[in-house]
Symmetry: C2
Subunit: 425 residues, 2 copies
């Protein structure tokens, strides 16, 4: 499908200048960005008048558990540990791979409404998750959530070899759930695997003060420093959350060029705290943004997360310019792509995958156009997402989905799962 | 226009139970709420199949400066005082009543996309603002922003008599900009007027720590206590912001049954702090929610404000259940109506004005339906607002506006104002 998008304003995210003109897509990749009038004689499957709306790279949701749509607004209002142990883990023990695939498709619909073109997903059944994303046409980077309850290291290694790069849309990273859900022996073996494959490793890291304290109690070190002492991050990687970080932790992240994936919606919902984003930026650490799973947020909305990054940094730093909107937009796009190893769909440029969105500028919240880029961060919402395209395929346009499965069918089936699982418990 | 809305789920906000059935609108008011099948033989101008979407009262944006759409994302990143004095006041000195009316219409479009059916507006030219809202079909409660730079007390009194209740859609409250922009003599005269009319008074109150400190320096009292000592709140009223509140301040609010209007988007953008919402609720104080003006936010999105009320309370209280979603939805609807004196459009009930919205449940962020009401607060967005009706008239439906003026015309004219004013400065 070759598509010409004309009459557009284009934010490539290589810088913050806007290009007025058009963008061409051929075989899933961007073939041209620039002035109008360069399409003489070409054949297009579709030509789209962008009506001066904005084209920009899609958002990268750099930490999520898609299948947890099941527990959205279920058992809300508990602190992290209690919520996990009494509510979430017992339900998850009953979920089938089919359930997870269906619930992931529900999440995919929501990602598309929020202009998300790739997600960094950690959940129970990577094989069915890979299928659900591939069938839907959505890009996914999966990461292992191994812990002392499962799966085995053999399964982890098999998935790493089987699912990583099985197609253009799917990759798989080494990772584990968290220091506090893994024994030392297991962690050492994961670090060995990272060395074997020269691979980065990702995990939930320093999300709550309690987690850090307990790790210090166990090993005399913070989670970051302890894991680094095992050689876990010798090939890089990153941490989800990173709310409670010491100077030494920050040095570890710098030394291994690791990424912080911040999850402000989840960190406020579970009262975990505010991550030191200003500090990370000052230290030159790559920062990405994730929604976390929908049962600890409760939505998959990158505009909400960007708003919270902004608002919370100002509160933490007591400074009205703690983090600039342009920096936040970078986190939500190129920062995410870097964290997820997506070198080929980070910015809009010729040769890159056409993973892009159209932002509706003909909405009152985008007017007047005093500062289009910052306005997106400070005033934008899902309501402004007019189109979401992944690898050149339009999966969402003017409120309509195109992922191969009917949205109403997904809603109906998703609603049937929780009652069934509760009955089985 | 008599409208039958059927096949709906109805959240009246009298409680949190959902009614399955239909809602009828006659002559702008609600004539029936209940089970289906009660419309035998009636003539309708329009019958709307709600497709099991949710009908609920519209949001009340209980503090805004609509005309400040002009400065949206203009001169961002300054602390409150500097931003006001160096950027905002010089521009405002040049704005005409016509400018303010046009910019208010731009705000009205945005309110409608967010399901807002009434706003509590404080801005420069109340006469042209009243006209802009009335022409658009939107409900507005205006409040005077008098301060030592203008207008005169005579003008304030004239407006109070002329604009308050001039039609069903418009009221006008006594108020002033803030303690720190008014001399003592002026404040005493406003308090006298409040006594003369037995009227409540509203003002920006205890927004920043600096404001409170300076007032204590001037009068030996916090703004709330000082203003109360003048008899300002003897007939009630309320404060916008109320971030930095002492025990004594809270007693004043309780004594006079005053409302707190919280503005978390603005308070985080300007790094003013987090208001003690949990405390207000525990003390039984009525809490409403406002966006503040779009140049200190930068949007007019009640979903964003609800999200921030929730997130910030958890951070402030270090408690994952600091404020419940149902309480927040109450603040954004009935709490706002109470603060604004809108007794006739607070909840959905027979005889009340049909100020209501339809929430699209056929969206992934509303699924599964584990907890519909809390889900609205934790996961909802402007994208879910399918229809906004005020006094029985549909002003926004499926992304289309119906306010008498074309949206593109408003955008074009709004974009022309700032360059013109800067040239005049």
């Amino acid at each position: 499908m070759n598509i010409r998008l004309y009459n557009a304003r284009i934010l490539t995210m290589q810088d913050f200048n806007l290009i007025e003109g058009e963008l061409h897509v051929k075989d899933g990749r961007i073939s041209y960005i620039g002035e109008a009038g360069q399409n003489s004689g070409e054949q297009w499957d579709r030509e789209i008048d962008c009506k001066r709306n904005l084209l920009m790279p899609g958002f990268k949701n750099a930490h999520t558990h898609s299948g947890m749509t099941l527990m959205r607004t279920y058992a809300d209002g508990l602190p992290l540990q209690e919520w996990l142990e009494t509510k979430i883990f017992p339900l998850e023990a009953k979920m089938s791979g089919e359930d997870v695939a269906l619930l992931s498709k529900l999440a995919i619909l929501e990602y598309l409404t929020s202009g998300v073109t790739a997600v960094f997903d950690m959940y129970l059944t990577p094989e069915t998750i890979a299928d659900a994303f591939y069938e839907s046409g959505m890009r996914v980077v999966q990461v292992s959530g191994i812990n002392k309850f499962g799966p085995t290291l053999e399964v982890l290694e098999e998935r790493y070899n089987k699912l990583n790069g099985v197609n253009d849309m799917t990759s798989f990273m080494l990772g584990f759930h968290a220091e506090y859900t893994c024994d030392r022996d297991l962690l050492e073996k994961i670090a060995e695997m990272a060395h074997k494959y020269k691979a980065p490793v990702y995990t939930h890291n320093s999300e709550t003060a309690r987690e850090v304290e307990e790790c210090v109690g166990r090993y005399g070190m913070t989670p970051t420093v302890f894991l680094d002492s095992l050689g876990m991050f010798d090939y890089g990687g990153g941490g989800y959350h990173c709310v409670h970080m010491s100077d030494q932790d920050i040095e570890v992240f710098k030394k291994h060029d690791m990424s912080v994936v911040t999850n402000p919606g989840s960190n406020t919902k579970l009262a975990s705290g505010i991550a030191p984003i200003r500090r990370f930026l000052d230290e030159g650490i790559n920062v990405a943004i994730g929604t976390d799973g929908p049962s600890s947020n409760n939505c998959l909305d990158m505009f909400k997360e960007m708003c919270l990054v902004f608002s919370l940094a100002n509160i933490r730093e007591k400074n009205a310019l703690a983090v600039d909107g342009c920096d936040i937009l970078k986190m939500a796009t190129v920062g995410g792509a870097k964290a997820m190893g997506l070198k080929d769909c980070d910015v809009l440029a010729v040769g890159k995958w056409a993973d892009l969105i159209m932002i509706d500028m003909h909405q009152p919240n985008m007017q007047p156009e005093n500062d289009i880029v910052r306005n997106l961060v400070y005033s934008g919402s899902k309501q402004n997402v007019k189109m979401t395209m992944i690898a050149g395929k339009i999966l969402y346009e003017d409120g309509k989905f195109n992922i191969g499965t009917d949205a109403e069918t997904i809603y109906r089936e998703a609603n049937a799962i929780l009652p069934r699982l509760i009955k089985e418990m």
